[in-house]
Amino acid sequence: MTERLGLGSPPSLADHLRTFGPMPHVDGRSGSSPGALVDEVESAGLRGRGGGWFPTHLKLRAVVDSSASRGRLSRTRQPIVIGNGMEGEPASSKDVVLLTSSPHLVLDGIEAAARTVGATEAFLAVHRGSPAIPVLERAIAERPDTELPITLDTPPARYVASEESALSHWIGDGIAQPVYPDRPFQKGADGRPTLVQNVETLAHLGLIARHGGAWFAEVGSPSAPGTTLVSIGGAVRHPGVLEAPTGTPVAHLIERAGGATSGIRGFLTGGYGGGWVASEGFAETSWDPDSMRAAGAVIGASILWAVGDQVCPLDELDRVVHWMAGESAGQCGPCVFGLPALSEDVHSLASRAVDPQRPTRLQRRLALVTGRGGCKHPDGVARLVGTGLSAFADEVAAHEDGRCTATANVGARLPVPPARVAALDGRGRDFR
């Protein structure tokens, strides 16, 4: 069992130094060349843990390239680094667990990333009201002075505010809405090249700076090495966060969460912007981005939720889609109007209302909200609905027929915060 990130350890600097040792010197960027750490990150094969699993060394290089291509006196030349601890997915808790156990490892990673790309400002963003805030304030205050202080920032707790262009927009203009087109590494906060990295990615960076890329890649799947945090919940005995090498079979993750508490009907993978899979054959799947995609699932922000066999999966889908519709950024018509329309159809299906036109209308609307937004929020909701309808096709057929097979409808339910009503919000009033 490989555990590297210090989950459950006390968050003080003294404990941090005892556990991980001092941070070695990290070379700064020189002109158009990133600091040497980028080569270790490349040999580590580190991929972003926020959901996209994009190769981290490519992002580091893109930020430096964009910066170096600007005039020496350009006001937008200096890069910005943002640690993303927003954790917008309600079924995820890996970031808050990491930030409250190993805040200094994340801060080490931010400093290392900032030196590597030559950033002149560095931020750590967690959502407003996050329980990590007091721990992070203390951690930042107890660190020795560096040339680049890290600013803790608290954008509004909105689902889309976790998205990297929304976070850049927030740091630049104080509005946490996504931007189109979305290329923060070229043109992010204040038009400056902006590196946005999930806090877990940054913690791994703090370890790669200490131990090197080869060490990092000693465990995990060759296509996405290392360990990863997993938020596991639903019909398992001990829901929570665990750390496992990428590539760990789903069955082992469930075992480590204490095993299933009932039969499992299916899984929600990757979060509310992820996808559902039926349980048949899924337990052998390796927990890494490529194996998950091949199995028709999504690793996303590394969320695994087991739907017990006494819970109606369409009822779960209905509750989640209703909430996700209200989390539209309010910028694009197909999202603001399309998601509530989809949600109504799903609600009608879940409540077994008779409507022969519904299947056709649902499919048409799924296509209508896909690929037409300024960010991927509507695409995520369409995938959530589309994969739900296919993973639970038998339950859909029963509902079309006026029946529900999960008559008791008891067991762990997906966490769904109070829903908002989707509305156009061109000035970002609800995102400040």
């Binding site: 189109y180 018509g333 109007f337 209508l368 690929g371």
Partner: protein
Amino acid sequence: MSDDIMRTLHLDPIACDGRGLCHYAAPDLIDLDEWGYPLLRDGGLRLGVTSSELPQARAAVEACPMLALHLEK
């Protein structure tokens, strides 16, 4: 030559507020969805435009009061 792609028509979905004038300027390229928002013929945010379709695409770009459409080479 009718299938030569001359330009790409881009739609900025955040700038767009669904006035629908582009559909009337370029009915062969742009439909309106059930909520009144432009639906490019291929469904996405970019559409390859042939030389014979270029006049309609230009008209759509000019018709948009929100400057949400533009043509690129």
